[in-house]
Symmetry: C2
Subunit: 308 residues, 2 copies
């Protein structure tokens, strides 16, 4: 029997026969496709998540389609529509600019959802949660122990949920330490945003001795801005990132950052969708994504001159 199967497959290949997946999905009333929507495919955090999601999905014999929202609302809409039109078997949403309207729409069609840090409460949705507060606290504690007191924060362009979480965690942690949260400079989640924010921070007086960036890309942009103005990191000013992308690891100086395990995130999302799709009615679980401080070389003792 296995050999028969093998022969059939061999002949199929020889005959160049590739089953039409459209017909298959149509007839089976169910596609073998998972979707994943991310904010920014150029951000290594997301590309790593996409890769591990794909790898795991392929293991379960799904195809995957990926859409990017680029932090833009109309692309978010298109992405959601596309998932609906393609009749995906499940969709992972790793982007906070996804409106509840669409989430509900997807849930209404009984398509399993795995969302990263979006707080979408629905029986058809699995939540992948990150404890930002803990991450932010670890970062700031680390800086605090190094003697930093004027710690600034650089956030993202919009007030998306998870971007906001990081900001709120910053404020909460600062206050818990009896420090005054500094006015926030906002970037746009990427390097150039960080660069611009970095320039603006340099105008603040007294200058912060440390800057916490909302992600690694922003941190890199900050450092570039600082370097251009003759400031050394970490000698003159400390900078931290968030996400622990491969970028953080190879950047010089190696970034102090928070590991969010993008790879585990992607895998977990794929696993969760698979599980939900084979056993409908399973109560949606909630996963906690591990978070851990990675101490690099971009943070150092608060410089004496600056604190003086």
């Amino acid at each position: 029997m296995p050999e028969t199967r093998h022969r059939v497959l061999a002949i199929a290949r020889k005959l160049k026969y590739y089953p039409n997946s459209n017909a298959r999905s149509l007839a089976a009333r169910s596609s073998r496709t998972l979707g994943i929507i991310v904010s920014d495919i150029e951000n290594p955090f997301f590309s790593l998540a996409v890769r591990s999601f794909e790898a795991r999905a392929h293991r379960w014999r799904y195809d995957v389609i990926v859409s990017e929202t680029n932090y833009e609302l109309h692309l978010m809409r298109r992405a959601a529509e596309r998932m609906l039109e393609q009749k995906v078997r499940g969709v992972a949403i790793l982007t906070s600019e996804m409106s509840p309207t669409w989430l509900n729409e997807i849930a209404r069609q009984d398509i399993p959802i795995a969302c990263f840090d979006l707080d979408f409460v629905n029986k058809g949705a699995t939540n992948l949660k990150v404890d930002y507060l803990s991450g932010m606290r670890q970062v700031i504690d680390h800086l605090y122990q190094l003697g930093h007191r004027r710690i600034a924060y650089v956030g993202g362009r919009r007030t998306f949920k998870n971007i906001l979480s990081r900001h709120q965690s910053y404020i909460a942690t600062m206050e818990a330490l009896g420090l005054e949260p500094l006015p926030v400079a906002n970037g746009n989640q990427t390097m150039d945003g960080g660069y611009v924010a970095g320039k603006s921070i340099l105008g603040v007086s007294p200058r912060p001795t440390a800057v916490v960036a909302m992600n690694d890309l922003t941190a890199v942009g900050l450092i570039k801005a600082f370097n251009e103005c003759g400031l050394r990191v970490p000698a003159d000013i400390s900078v931290t990132g968030f996400d622990n992308t491969y970028l953080a690891e190879y950047f010089v100086p190696r970034l102090t950052t928070v590991d969010m395990h993008a790879d585990i995130l992607g895998e977990t999302a794929a696993d969760a969708l698979h599980e939900m799709s084979i056993s409908a009615g399973t109560p949606a679980k909630e996963y906690k994504i591990k978070i851990e401080l990675i101490i690099g070389k971009s943070t150092g003792p608060a410089s004496v001159t600056a604190t003086a």
Copy 2:
């Protein structure tokens, strides 16, 4: 009429109607989907190309599916099969580890192909060519003028066509300048490969005064390795990248590299596929991708002690 259309669409939305794209593709005997296959989605060169490809494809009202080969043959095979099964309207192949067998297979089904730097000669294929020789020559000339004579090269893991092109161009250019090509260290196209290669280069005596990396990621890995051993870039050793990814721009020191215009590449590929798909029988064109040297801060005059 337009208002009627608008009303219909509004009602469709209200009724939560999303046309089944599988049924549509099946009935129309033609999908509205373009495929793109890349080596490594984490490499910013590719992610940028994917993004611009998607953007342009969406403008022409195509959906796009992206597959990654990860430089692995079995994934390459799966990616090709998937394109065939999904009955894509055209496919862009931005990965040199794609066997001619599969290219022919795709061409045989009359699916337009746009391949980047793959030398696939077929009437159904558009070629996007890069003049590596020119790029490499510009890089090496630049180093030569800075006084470098012992210029090493760090290549990729396998002998894929385009990776090989860069290598051959290195050798040709060196010889043209009357310099001796040094033995090549091979990376794996990413940072950690560059890092390992960097360590091995440090063992070579006399040490090269400059290293040409096959891409930006490798260059970053190299620099990390050099830094760890106390070498400063560019004071002690110069390093160049290739691709001019955003990484190169924000890295400290800003990388000297070669811009391959990944965004234009992606757009051109999408345009070419679109054009081929609407007018079958058009003779396949050939596009030349512009290439240009970007001088950064990772290259400097050959250090006197090293050349001595």
